[in-house]
């Protein structure tokens, strides 16, 4: 079984693509029929499957990711409310397996943002005003530089700041896995469990 270790993230200078859509839900990021696929097989081909390809499997020429100039994109600029809906972590797998390491948007689905950090994907929150600048800049230049330490995204002449939960930023910068942290607290967890069992006998499943 392949293990997917988190990669530390500091800076990224890569091809960028603009996706001018609100409410890109995780059903659009990866349609449910691909959720059976094991991670080891890779999910990059399923990314935005029904937006990228028509029913016959032909690429839709108007979808930004299909622009030959954007091949190998590693930064995706969205708009409002990216990654809402289903908790499917496969949405993040599909982005990461495709090669995307940073998604910028004005807001993210809460579960998506949590899944992102667990896979080394930066979910950068940019203001409404700045996201429009960034979308336009990326459409022109096809490039973006993401600096997680400085919390900025640069494209062409624009440098916009972004926010991210400080704890998540630290994890991304260091490539920390939550489990490694949790294991350090094993004795506290065990003590809590023992005390809790005595205090809340009703919480144990009967039957």
């Amino acid at each position: 079984m392949q293990s997917f270790k988190m990669q530390p993230f500091t800076r990224l200078d890569g091809t960028a693509v603009a996706l001018r859509r609100d409410n890109v839900d995780t059903d659009q990021v990866i349609p449910a029929r691909f959720l059976k696929v094991a991670r080891a097989e890779g999910l990059g081909d399923a990314l935005f499957r029904d937006l990228r390809f028509d029913a016959d499997g032909k690429p839709r020429p108007d979808f930004p990711l299909n622009d030959p100039a954007r091949k190998g994109a590693s930064v995706l600029i969205g708009r409002k409310n990216f990654g809402v809906g289903s908790s499917r972590e496969a949405a993040v797998y599909a982005l990461v397996d495709y090669g995307i390491r940073c998604v910028a948007a004005t807001s993210f689905g809460d579960i998506f943002a949590g899944n992102a950090v667990n896979n080394g994907l930066v979910a950068a929150i940019v203001s409404e005003e700045d996201i429009e600048k960034l979308l336009s800049a990326v459409e022109q230049t096809g490039k973006a530089e993401v600096d997680l330490e400085e919390q900025t995204i640069k494209s062409g002449n624009y440098v916009v700041p972004f926010t991210i939960d400080p704890a998540r930023r630290m994890r991304l910068l260091n490539g920390w896995d939550d489990l490694d942290l949790t294991k350090q607290y094993k004795s506290q967890i065990d003590a809590f469990a023992a005390k809790d069992k005595a205090e809340r006998p009703w919480a144990v499943p009967a039957g």
């Binding site: 079984m1 392949q2 293990s3 001018r20 859509r21 609100d22 409410n23 839900d25 059903d27 659009q28 349609p31 449910a32 029929r33 059976k36 094991a38 991670r39 029904d50 029913a55 409002k80 409310n81 809402v84 809906g85 289903s86 908790s87 499917r88 972590e89 496969a90 993040v92 807001s107 993210f108 689905g109 809460d110 579960i111 949590g114 899944n115 667990n118 896979n119 939960d165 400080p166 704890a167 630290m170 939550d178 489990l179 942290l181 949790t182 294991k183 607290y185 506290q188 967890i189 809590f192 469990a193 809790d196 205090e199 809340r200 006998p201 009703w202 919480a203 499943p205 009967a206 039957g207």
Partner: protein
């Protein structure tokens, strides 16, 4: 607005003039975060000064510790898993470890099970998904309510139905609709696969404490209005990101008046407002529902549990970060027209016109949704013809939902085909005892086995490309019910009305004919 400290971590003596809570001292300790227990006197003072929300009380009771980065490590009382949890098992296996607390982990087959008579698999990859859950649960000693178990059903129907979900618990599941369980006064959080594996390995979860929002729905709903109409009206009001970063407590007379089924529908849809979770304070309706359920405490143990649960509701002066209110009497039957649950309107309305949008980007989005949905601007909602109906899902397939749909369909014929899939096998049997299955089949609909089914179409039940479906489900996203499928969300009674008319329709005249 109250100036009281919002949680126990920031509370300082003398900063709050609110009346003292009615808590007993022992309950105060139970609600206090463990890390400040070292100084008991201080805890006593601080908590007495603080009016807590339902969410705060349950959170505090489950907080093992709070790390320097501000995240809390929480104890998990119940972990529900399903076929889709295989990614979590894969991660556990990759570490060469075992599930830490199989006794608090419960497997339920729902996402990939066929709904056809006899549960016939037409696709070996679907069978593999169901069998994989059997293998994984067996390997780790986890109880499974598998495909042919009489307790099988959709995880968010089965948990409450079996008494696994109870007030005061902290529940997680690798499914966004886990918020459903908050209807019983629990904190219930949908999580991703990495978090599923974290819970499997440690029975804990790291979370940043969300802000608290209270949505108060006062007044009385009109006849024919269900919890779905209330929920969609709320989402239309606050938007699909209105609840982001929040735990929502639903309160008010109209919420108290809801049955447990209605509350489950409401909390189920909290995620569609972007919230981490939705909750309703436990009350007599809750206790009556939980009493006698298979996994609930029995006899005197149950009575003691009720005494504890009675202390859970938010204190009278507890402060919420955001308050929203709605008048129930103003809520009409609601349908969605677009590709986001916030695209909801009363049935007597019309499809909105992108040309009237101030924001050009928003206008373009709206036009995109209309193109996908095959609708014209300003078209009357009742003129939208449908190709099929679906009654099912964790949102609206409990017994009360099936009764509401059957009440409309009885003695009438559906003009379109459709599938009815009960929320659980137990609901299915109860419906059959009440003769509801006969009502559905006499109307021309198919009576299927229980599962997630056509809500997300991964078990083979899909809405064909370009077809339009009136659906009791939770998401009208593009392609949600199958590639190219067009979904209109509404209540079970409204789906029944659409079936009878062959187009979206107001259920109220059909109900009045019966009265």
């Amino acid at each position: 607005m109250l100036r009281c400290a919002r949680d126990t971590d920031t509370a300082r003596p003398g900063t709050c003039n609110q009346p003292l809570s009615t808590y007993t001292v022992s309950a105060l300790y139970a609600a206090a975060p463990r890390r400040v227990n070292a100084n008991k006197n201080r805890v006593k003072v601080e908590i007495r000064m603080t009016q807590l929300t339902l969410f705060d009380k349950i959170w505090a009771q489950h907080e093992i510790l709070k790390a320097e980065n501000g995240n809390s490590l929480l104890w998990i009382d119940r972990h529900y898993i399903h076929e889709g949890s295989f990614q979590g098992f894969d991660k556990v296996e990759a570490r060469g470890e075992k599930v830490a607390r199989p006794d608090l982990t419960f497997g339920i087959a729902d996402h990939y099970v066929p709904t056809s008579h006899g549960r016939v698999f037409n696709d070996p990859t679907l069978r593999h998904m169901v069998e994989q859950l059997v293998d994984n649960t067996k390997k780790h000693g986890i109880m499974l309510m598998g495909m042919n178990d009489p307790r099988q059903g959709i995880v968010h129907v089965v948990g409450p139905e079996q008494g696994l979900t109870m007030p005061g618990l902290l529940i997680v599941c690798g499914d966004s609709h886990t918020a459903t369980h908050g209807a019983l006064g629990a904190i219930a959080i949908g999580i991703g696969a990495s978090e599923v594996s974290h819970v499997m390995l440690t029975q804990t979860l790291w979370q940043k404490k969300p802000r608290r929002m209270r949505i108060t729905v006062d007044g009385k709903t009109a006849p024919g209005i269900g919890a779905k109409d209330i929920a969609l009206s709320i989402i239309a009001k606050i938007g699909t990101n209105g609840g982001q970063g929040y735990a929502i407590e639903f309160a008010g007379r109209a919420i108290r008046a809801l049955s447990m089924e209605g509350r489950l529908t409401l909390c189920n849809l909290a995620i569609e407002a972007g919230a981490r979770t939705g909750m309703v304070a436990p009350d007599e309706t809750t206790f009556a529902y939980v009493r006698g359920k298979p996994f609930a405490p029995k006899g005197a143990d149950f009575d003691r549990a009720v005494q504890i649960w009675q202390q859970l509701p938010s204190d009278p002066d507890a402060a919420f970060d955001t308050e929203v209110s709605l008048d129930a009497s103003g809520i009409a039957p609601v349908v969605t027209w677009g590709t986001s649950p916030e695209d909801a309107l009363p049935i007597d309305g019309a499809v909105p016109d992108p040309a009237q949008m101030d924001d050009p980007a928003r206008a373009q989005q709206m036009q995109g949704a209309l193109d996908y949905m095959g609708l014209n601007a300003r078209q009357k909602l009742t003129d939208i013809r449908i190709d099929r109906v679906f009654i099912g899902s964790c949102t609206n397939a409990r017994i009360e939902d099936l009764r509401a749909a059957a009440a409309v369909l009885a003695g009438r014929k559906a003009k379109v085909p459709g599938l009815v899939s009960a929320g659980s096998t137990m609901v299915k049997h109860q419906a059959e005892q009440e003769g509801l299955d006969k009502v559905f089949t006499a109307a021309g609909l198919t009576w299927g086995e229980s599962g997630c089914s056509m809500c997300l179409g991964i078990n083979g039940d899909i809405v064909p490309p370009g077809e339009r479906c009136a659906s009791t489900t939770n998401r009208n996203f593009r392609g949600r019910q199958g590639p190219g499928a067009r979904t209109h969300l509404m209540s079970p009674a409204m789906v029944a009305a659409a079936a009878v008319n062959g187009h979206l329709a107001d259920v109220r005249p059909l109900l009045q004919e019966r009265a």
